[in-house]
Symmetry: C2
Subunit: 244 residues, 2 copies
């Protein structure tokens, strides 16, 4: 247990620690975790701070709060449960077995055509990084990622960075915070580009995940199309109904 700064993120620390205990099995699904008052004593903090941590756990599908009873641990073991969207390919790949490879097929700076101006809500004069990458599982290219990033937010992008993780560069190197995304999933017929870059195995359609990604200050900085071969697509999500 590390030293905590005075007024900073105690509840996040508690959230992380409790989440870890559920992931490593210290808390088993179906069990009740200690009550809010007990936890407040254990962590030498107030009940409200514990409640903030538990609210986070509830939102992310770790627990269900039962009024008058306690907080029961939910079953989150469905293989590699991403706990809701916004997981980059790199993060996903880290959790998976098998041989995974990323190849940068195209990398250049462009002036956005009209459709991109619309998607990125930018002008024709803005510079945009265009990155096309393929993702290979078991010697098959099954995902085509088309990334468009505004240069005004990401000034220094290289082909090497794209071969690793763009998100890591943004968050670690640039110190920016990716905050939220709007996601749309549809199915489209394959384009010539899909046929050129992917091993389609005769499939005529791809699942397209369109992502509009925003920074901390609510500025849209990236539009991404992730094009998946039908048989290799899978999306899992946890959703609460009334968001209380």
């Amino acid at each position: 247990m590390q030293v905590r700064q005075v007024k900073k993120n105690k509840y996040k620390y508690i959230y992380e620690e409790l989440a870890d205990k559920m992931k490593d099995g210290t808390f088993q699904p179906g069990e009740l975790i200690p009550s809010e008052n007990e936890l407040a004593q254990q962590y030498e903090t107030s009940r409200e701070t514990i409640r903030k941590a538990l609210t986070l756990l509830s939102q992310n599908g770790y627990i269900q709060k039962l009024r008058g009873k306690g907080s029961v641990v939910l079953d989150t073991n469905r293989a590699s449960f991403p706990i809701s969207g916004l997981v980059s390919f790199k993060e996903l790949a880290d959790q998976m077995k098998g041989s995974i490879k990323t190849e940068v097929e195209e990398f250049n700076l462009i002036k956005p055509p009209p459709f991109l101006q619309h998607q990125l809500q930018c002008s024709a004069k803005d510079d945009v990084w265009k990155v096309i990458r393929t993702r290979t599982f078991d010697e098959e290219r099954v995902i085509l990622d088309k990334d468009f990033l505004l240069k005004k937010y990401i000034p220094d992008l290289t082909e090497e960075i794209c071969g690793q993780s763009i998100y890591a560069h943004i968050e670690h190197d640039l110190g920016l915070t990716i905050s939220f995304a709007k996601k749309e999933i549809v199915v489209e017929t394959c384009t010539e580009e899909d046929k050129r870059y992917l091993d389609l195995n005769g499939f005529l359609h791809v699942v397209v995940v369109k992502n509009y990604v925003y920074l901390d200050d609510a500025s849209l900085f990236q539009y991404t199309e992730s094009r998946h071969r039908l048989d290799k697509f899978r999306f899992v999500d946890f959703a609460r109904r009334h968001m209380k």
Copy 2:
């Protein structure tokens, strides 16, 4: 403005009212809403209560909180934005144009085969409602919904209810609260059942949305497969990254 009960849901009321103001355009995207202290004065409440309402708005994609600046209104106008999953067909249909029709194709009580026992985490002796419905848009049957509900939670289901909205029956008639769901989206090759019930127009695959739906007390009561014709499938989502 209605009378509020003493210690009940003031922050939810404020959340609803502010959300309405964003939906009807009183607050425009890009604008800053009044500060927390101003809102606390307007609603004659404490800042903490306002903060709970704003946290909800943030989680549901209505606003972005900017430290030191204020809360900016996000653009939620992308046509019929469901604001994250768990939207039933009935709720969705209410928002859409065109002729939409639901037809109950099968309705009976069964003993669950092994695969269903696994999906619903129940025993072979439990009674399960099996409901198969088709959804028709513009004279084409494009969605096949296969619902399996545990009778011990939903004792009195009728074919009439299934023709309307099962969710409304559960929440209004039975007074139960649907709390959360785990969702999985994959693509599968069409089954004979798909071909029998849907107008597939030559498509060989369907998008399958598998839903595990839970009640308030964390009990799993429903497993649903929603099978969509490829060209009619669309899923939109709002997701925050670090869930703070």
